[in-house]
Amino acid sequence: MKNKIRVLSLSLVLVLVACFFQDTSALAGARKLTSDFLADSGEVNLTEWHVGDENIYVKDNKLMIPAASSTDQTKFISKSVVKKSTAVDTLITASAAMRITQLPEGEQFILAFGLANIEAESGENGNVEIVFANNGGIVCSVIAYSDDEAITLVDKAKCGISVNSKFTLNAAIGSNGNFTVAVNGKNICNKELPVSGQGRFGILQTGSCGAEISELSVVVQSYETPENVNIEEDFEDGEFDASAMSSFVRGSNGCFPSYAKIEDYNGNKVFMFYNAGLGYIGTRYEYSNFEISFDVPYFQYTDIYDEDKRLEVKASGGVCLGFGEQNEAPEGEGYIQDTDFFLLGSTIAQSWLKKTWKVAVEDTNFVDKENNVGYSVKFTLVDGKGTLQLKGAKDKEYTTVATDYYEDYAKGYVRIWSSGNSTFAIDNLKITNLDKDGALVDTDYKSSVITAEDYVLTDEDTKMVFREDENKAQEEKGLSSGEVLMIVSAATTVVLIASGTVISFIWKRKKGGRKNGEQ
């Protein structure tokens, strides 16, 4: 028996335009957020940093903190917030290459973690501070603040730096609460913190301190666990759970009928996009790490004409799978704003936004156009790694078509789209939360079927009004004053015309033989 659908790894011809693996520490779901102090404009990056002193500026790609104008309100605080999570190894790392240009005795120059907000002060509860002081030479302490108490973890360590000498600093807070600090590569702290370390990173001081910072990188790792539900829908009940999913369609592709609804196909109920315009079926919740799979049992590959050669059904545009969508209820082409969307057609599987891979698919070995035997799709996204897999409808195993990393992805809605011209069916839709310690919620089932009571026409609504009826009604009412006047006027006109005619006739007869022109 001809087996048109073969194991993809043997018979599928894949052309990979680009398929690459990034650094495995590129994370999403687990997410790495890097804050650069420099904006593209060459000025301070105010999108990611809060500057508490207008005197802080950028010069020659260095962040300059001038000593002359610095006070205890001179602060430079990151807007990224560290949140405790066991799902990542390291909560935050901060690396800087800098030199302290001025550090008067009695003053302190501070790199702080765990700051409560963008106006945090030194010494507040929750802070972990790397404190540089001038004690006849620069010394470095590490102090944590908890319950209004200063807990010294490292006390005035000599770290081999002096005013105006360049040095590097690397610090990190692990998810196990361990805090490490190294100055010029030399470890000066490796201790467990008495505080969570949650909060912001910032550069503070007590006043009159100056610094030049040539490199500053703060990387916050977070793990998104949005609340959501697992979905498994075969549409056999003729409806779906509207508390978990939603659908929308606008317009058609120009052919009719046009719809997106659940209907029978080959003995099963499916969600059918038929001559559909822009629309989707997708999640009501956002997903971080997830897997989506669904069957495409029917895909219209060719135009269909009726017996009068009128176009009934257009060949369908691709199945569009989008994720990372921020709009809860898009009514336009929401997928354009997604982290990425894939177009799955009869001959192509393409990452549309990232454009890093495009797979040309030999249709004879994958989709059986002649018999319209469909295929199945599975997309998995875990810690930023996206994997797209396909299989023929009758195959048991999926084959990986392409993978990519989405380092900026945090969470979003997941949807299957009709991008404006779609005739295909979806079945066996499954979406699974793959977060570590996922935040699954319970919801009450809500039918997707919308019912509305039809308007009931009354006898009065359906009554036909004829002139006879009008006249009858009028007779019963009697004539209006206007109508009376009109009748009188018309009658008068008739009388006058008739009279005029008669008078004229009599006059002519009387004057009978009068010659023309005689008065």
Binding site: A39, D40, S41, E43, L46, T47, H50, E54, T71, Q73, K79, V81, N117, I118, E119, Q326, N327, G482, E483, L485, M486, S489, A490, T492, T493, L496, I497, G500, S504, W507, Q519
Partner: protein, 520 residues
């Protein structure tokens, strides 16, 4: 003889037939034209812009006026499109309007002076209208020749409207008093997963917030008599130096740069319409939106006014540059708290007195600084000059129109307006009593309270502004700074410095080549 006879007969027949036709035709009223029940009397025709406050108030005022003045018959036509309302303005031969309630700017040649209305005391009132009007509003309403050609009949006060529930959930108990503190509030909201701000396309209503910042930084006198009069300190007017001066506008940009950022602003704010964004705001998509008192009228249909409140516009943190004894934002906030407590009646000014100066804790605040901060704090955004009444010079019923205005601005008329739209006007009641807002929504009450406390009402639509502002000039030379600060498109993002440079470049390009030439 015969010819004459025929002629008379034809005329008689034609007359009879014409009469027959006309009696068969019915009259009708169509479009947005309303007639009153008082068919007899002198006609007064009103053209009104149907803005956010609707027209129900006008119907109610007309009813009250006709009851008091049966000798008049008032009709009105309305449209939500200002251009439609103003379509015939100036066309004396076809415009039959006797009174406009709309927005126009500086069309003095077709406007009748209303000085006599201001000097008059309406029936039942105890003061002249002039005495009832807010002084700073009136100062801005006066044109350069000293006359008053139009007076407010709508608009309202504006402030930062906030979702009290979202604030509560984020643990915010102190409303932001300064722009630095507003940034802190945005940061706090964001850390709780709440989108702090939203606005609609083309900067939303922030332009009104900017007017407050300008007046706070430069003082209301400079704002009215220098910037918008385009008059420099040497008295030269118009003067490009006024437009290029690094004044409150520059510091407003520096403030916006801190809190109008991509992560603090609701996605879609730069492209969605006013209605779309307002609906999203009212549906908890963002915690704050700069909006106006008219929102109360629009919220009534949604039944959602309980969770929304309005805060006074935060004071521009940069005013510290003008102060000698207040040099950090935390101290500035403390002074503002003291000013608020005095306004609310919780404290007296004497509670802070220290000789000729004042004291907050151990810190002495100079008298000048205290007054500067008080004036800044009591500066309220408004756009009362955005909807005005005026009588066209060619009206056939000027006396009637003015009588109508006298009634509209009388205590009785003002109460009808206030009760219908729950929107404040910069006109006090002549008796000295305050408006009875006991049945108004909490949101509406707050706006009335804002206006009561207001010392200054900066309004960029004021009549006093120099003609150059009708010739193309504007405060920021049409630079869309709000868009540039919060766009997600990195290529279009600007810093405050870049935005200011662009403003100066545009002024330098257009001042002489376009604006000066276009001044009428």
């Amino acid at each position: 003889m015969m010819k004459k006879g025929k002629k008379y007969l034809a005329i008689l027949l034609a007359t009879a037939m014409t009469a027959a036709c006309l009696t068969g035709c019915g009259g009708g009223e169509g479009g947005n034209k309303k007639t009153s029940s008082n068919k007899a009397g002198v006609d007064i025709e009103i053209a009104v812009w149907n803005s956010g406050i609707g027209i129900e108030w006008l119907e109610n005022v007309i009813a009250g006026f006709e009851k008091k003045h049966p000798e008049y018959n008032v009709t009105f036509s309305d449209s939500s499109n200002i251009k439609t309302v103003n379509a015939s303005l100036g066309m004396a031969d076809i415009d039959t309007t006797d009174l406009y309630l709309t927005y126009v700017s500086r069309e003095y040649e077709v406007m009748e002076p209303l000085d006599d209305i201001l000097d008059a005391t309406a029936d039942g009132d105890q003061k002249s209208l002039k005495e009832k009007f807010n002084a700073t509003y009136l100062a801005g309403a006066q044109s350069e020749d000293g006359h008053y050609y139009s007076l407010t009949c709508g608009g309202g006060t504006l402030g930062m409207v906030y979702n009290t529930k979202m604030f509560e959930e984020a643990g915010i108990t102190q409303l932001p008093r300064t722009t630095d503190e507003l940034t802190l509030v945005c940061d706090t909201l964001k850390s709780y997963g709440v989108t702090p701000l939203c606005h609609f396309v083309q900067g939303g209503y922030y332009t009104y917030m900017t007017q407050v910042f300008m007046a706070q930084y430069d003082g209301i006198d400079y704002y009215t008599n220098n910037f918008y009069s385009c008059k420099d300190e040497a008295g030269k007017s118009p003067s490009k130096d006024v437009l290029t001066k690094k004044d409150g506008r520059y510091y407003a940009l520096k403030a916006y740069e801190q809190f109008i950022t991509p992560e603090y602003v609701l996605a879609g704010s730069n492209s969605k319409s006013h209605t779309e964004i307002q609906t999203e705001f009212l549906n908890d998509k963002a915690a704050m939106m700069f909006n106006g008192s008219w929102l109360s009228y629009e919220m009534r249909n949604l039944g959602s006014s309980d969770k929304f409140a309005v805060m006074q516009t935060p004071v521009l943190s940069s005013i510290k540059d003008k102060l000698s004894t207040v040099n950090d934002d935390k101290l500035l906030r403390k002074v503002i708290t003291a000013v608020d407590q005095i306004s609310e009646g919780k404290k007296q000014l004497s509670d802070y007195a220290s000789g000729e100066d004042y004291k907050i804790g151990d810190t002495v605040i100079s008298k000048a600084d205290w007054e500067y901060v008080t004036a800044a704090r009591n500066t309220v955004a408004s756009n009362f000059a955005g909807q005005v009444s005026f009588v066209p010079t060619y009206s056939n019923s000027k006396e009637g129109a003015k009588e109508f205005l006298k009634y509209m601005y009388s205590d009785e008329g003002l109460k009808i307006y206030a009760d219908t739209v729950q929107n404040p006007m910069p006109i006090a009641l002549s008796t000295g009593e305050t408006y009875d807002t006991s049945k108004y929504s909490a949101y509406a009450k707050q706006h009335f309270s804002l206006l009561e406390q207001a010392e200054n009402l900066p309004d960029m639509h004021m009549n006093k502004r120099h003609a150059i502002f009708n010739a193309g000039a504007s405060d920021f030379a049409e630079v869309e700074y709000i868009f540039s600060f919060c766009t997600n498109n990195a290529g279009e993002q600007m810093t405050a410095e870049q935005a200011w440079k662009l403003v100066i470049d545009k002024i330098n390009d257009d001042y002489e080549t376009n604006w000066l030439k276009n001044i009428k």
